[in-house]
């Protein structure tokens, strides 16, 4: 489902060369769940956007649902995003001018689905925001915005969902609701999940767990996990 091969990203600044990611390799099968953890600034968000085709790598390649991203043109990548990929940004990126409902409806409208509004309302209900559907992002709290962003990512019925700290702003209860939602999606529709998180519990709930350290991605075995948790 998702391959990364020798994936690297660097940025040339006037003063120095900044290697954000170095030689990232992994393979994820359809329906698997994957967690990426790592220190702040280790390159998690960068990796996620490369994997989702939102950004282009300096070298290496990404294969998603059988397509090699570097071989697709921007048009085809957009189509892929529209039909197969969902993305929750760390900073949400809701459209300020639109209310919650309109924001969630957007991907459905892009696809030209008929009952966009019902679907969107349903999704908002599932993230517990049916009361707030006509509120603009400014009028929502950080956690509420995050839930709208998650609902928006679900809306396109993606085959693979990327989420950058989906529970970062949420209290225990809402966080659990969201996690439940994510895994339901994984179970019911076989959606592949790629999650960036600081939440060890969430990471543990995933089948695969990767740790990003200064741009280098390592998969943690079950042993590593027990060690790191100190049990």
């Amino acid at each position: 489902m998702l391959y990364a091969q020798h994936l690297a990203k660097n940025i040339i600044t006037p003063n120095a060369r900044l290697d954000i990611l170095r030689d990232v390799n992994f393979h994820l099968r359809a329906g698997e769940t994957m967690a990426i953890t790592g220190a702040s600034g280790s390159g998690k968000s960068t990796l996620l956007s490369l994997l989702a085709g939102l950004d282009t790598p300096s070298s290496g390649q990404v294969k998603i649902a059988g397509y090699s991203l570097s071989e697709l043109d921007e048009e085809a990548r957009a189509l892929l995003r529209q039909n197969k990929i969902g993305f929750v940004f760390q900073s949400f990126h809701l459209i300020p001018a639109l209310n919650a409902l309109d924001n969630v409806m957007l991907p459905l409208e892009l696809k030209g689905q008929k009952n966009a509004q019902e679907q969107a309302l349903d999704l908002l209900a599932r993230v517990g925001l049916s009361q707030r559907s006509d509120h603009k992002p400014v009028e929502l709290s950080g956690g509420e915005q995050q839930r709208v962003a998650i609902a928006r990512a679900f809306a396109g019925h993606p085959e693979i969902l990327f989420a950058d700290e989906p529970t970062g702003n949420l209290d225990q209860l809402s966080g659990e609701t969201i996690i439940k939602l994510l895994f339901e999606l994984n179970q019911e529709q076989g959606t592949t999940l790629v999650l960036v998180t600081h939440d060890q519990l969430l990471a543990q709930a995933c089948q695969r767990h990767f740790y990003l350290d200064q741009g280098v991605l390592n998969e943690l075995s079950a042993d590593d996990l027990t060690n790191s948790l100190g049990c």
Binding site: S49, G53, L54, D55, T56, E74, E75, A78, L79, L80, R81, Q82, N83, I85, F87, F89, S91, H93, L94, I95, P96, A97, L98, D102, L106, P107, E109, L110, G112, P137, V138, R152, G156
Partner: protein, 840 residues
Amino acid sequence: MWRIFRLAIKFFKRELYNGELSLFMLSLVIATGSLSCIGFLIERIDGSMNHHANQLNGAQLVLKSSSEVPALWLEKAQQLKLKQAKMLVFPSMLVVNDEFKLAQIKAVSANFPLQGELQVKKQDSVQITKAPPEGEIWLDKRLVLFFKLSFNQQSASTKKQWVELGDAQFKAGGLLERVPGQSNSLFTIAPTALINLADLDKTATIQPGSRVDYIYFFSDNTSGDRQTLADYQQWLKAKLQTGQSLRTGVEDFKAVNASLKKAADYLSLAGVLTLLLSAIAIAISSHRYGQKQYKNNAIMLCLGFSEKNILFIETAKLMTLGLIGSFAGIVLGYLVYLVLLHVLGDALTRTESHFFLMPVLVSMISGVFLLLTISMANLVRIKKLSPMGLIRNELLSNTSISEVVNNKLFYLISAAGLIVISIWYSGNTQLTLTFYTVLLLSAVFFYFFAKLLLVQIIYYGRRFQLINRLSLLNLERHKQAVLLQVTSFSLIFSLIILIFLVRTELLDNWQKQFPEGTPNHFVINVQTYERVSFESYLEQHSIKTQGLYPMIRGRLTHINHLAVNQAVPKEARSHNALHRALNLSVSDSLAAGKKSPVQLPENTPISIEKSLAKALNISLEDSLTFRVGSQSIEGRVTQIRQVKWDSFQPNFYIIFSPGIIEKYPMTWIASFYLGQDDKHQLNQLMAQFPGITIIEVDEVLKEIQFIINKVSAAIEVIFIFIVIAGALILSASLSSTMASRMYENAIIRTLGASTKQLRRCLLVEFVVVALLSALIAVLLAEFSTYILYQQVFQMAYSLHPIVWGAMVCVSLIIICGLGMLLVNKIFTQSAHQSLIQQME
């Protein structure tokens, strides 16, 4: 406070360096740049027009008297350090080789002319000089032809050509090409010769009782200070007696006056319009800046800055920005203006000064003022919220621009300020207020009209599936933003159409006004018995005339049987028409104009000129009594006539229907065209009909045509400049209004919208904006043109369908083309990059 100020400067520098201010700065520079450049041009043209008017007069102020004026008057002028020159005009005989010719002699002081160009042809070259040297006489073309003199190289060297005037002999020194101050002796009966005033006594031509006109010229010493001269004029005016008159500018030349007034109005309009255009640009970018800053300020408030500190920092920053930006703009504007002067060359170079303070002041003040008030309108909102409230609203700064018409007070202040600056700048209150009232009212009306249309477009677009679904959603959700764009673009477009229409109409009018062969000579005192032979003489010599008109001199004595002095309103008692004989005429075609339904057989119907009727408060059906010779004629006003004073045709204030008036002694007047090379015909004409008087207006006409040509060229330049400024300002506002939408489009792209889809959406949006803007612009422009033509320019109005079509095309090309180019930036980068960039 100093610490805070330093902080403000630091922020300013950083924002400038980061490029956060660059768009803002750019629109400020463009706005003030075009304002100052057009301002400089306008001042220059204004100066140039005055200059030409002075050419006609020979000075800024002219005093004409039938006798020597008291020495005190001239001493006073000397005290005030005014420049003075003097001219004596009198008829006298010139003799060359026993040939006699009556000429009008002008004896001028050595420093004549104070203003304008005295051109004289000597030995094949035309020189621009002061008065003739002592011992020389300069002759006009008619005299030169009559005496068969020549000023070629050879003839001048081989034999001296002597002209006798009275007791003295003069050397024929040159052919007069152009003499300033023609207007002071317009009714020249005879050809002109110019001598130095110092030679006058030698000629002994002036005897007690001779008819001599004394003409005194006054001008400012410095070119800038008009006040002294104005004061002196006021002082003189009180002392004038009969036979003395004062003249400034072109007030006596109805033809020039009407044209120049229109030109001046056009320039005022152009100035106000540029000011408004600049204001739009500054407003849009200030608005956006204020919104952006709002977020930063919210954070600073949370960090412990006081409200006062923040407002102080903002004010300091904006002032600095305003001053630097407008200064840069003014310098840029001035440079462009200098380049233009160079390119245009002769068209504008006939004034002394290049630099004017007014445009600088106006650009500076309006730049800083608008910047401050409009930015503040957004910034002061922080006063109303708690720090946390501000942070909650943090994302407001990314909201579409529509969110904001919030702090009405500040907008009101900036609007009021703009109008005050406009009035001050244009110096024409009526025009400015008319312009703003019309624009404001119609803008409000058309805003709602546009809103209605937009709703209809969306409705019908959906119903008949004319527009794809996504674009429709896009339009529907950004109705406010679209309307804001439509409002500002249509305003910009309509201003340009407006100035285009006025320009075209003016140039057209002027072109028609003096076509090739406009009469430049008038003949009066043709006796009735001479009439037929005179006409056939003209025909034989193929001189084109518009025919002869009868003329009777008569004084208006009674209105409705009341002596005029009691009959007219107080302020009209000094009207010229009451103190001299009027030219009355007869015509059987009293057809045009307002006509009274009743015609009383016992009174001859009279047609009266509109402005005279208005001044003397005469209306239809009033009876007027004139004294002709020793008898009285009465008539009843049946028509009030509009006279085109800016045409060089014989015009009459009063025209009688045929019947009574022919019984009185009448003479005939005619006008015809004679080219410079046919001037000798005048001599023959005079020989044939010794009783007639020829009035040569060819010099004046030439001068007027010259002015009009120059002013036309200048008006063209101003127009082109406004178009360029408008285009720049349009693009600045387009990019400002699009900026908040770019972020949104970047997000939608990450959701999987293809570039094609997004492009199509945006294109539909631009097309709708372009079409709506064009439509509203055309409506707005037609309406304001209609009002301005009626109220200010007094020109006939008709619709301009060609402009409509052109506007739609131009609007589509500019808005869609420029818009697509602008948003292209989000498509050329990766989705992630453009998202990050647009977030800022």
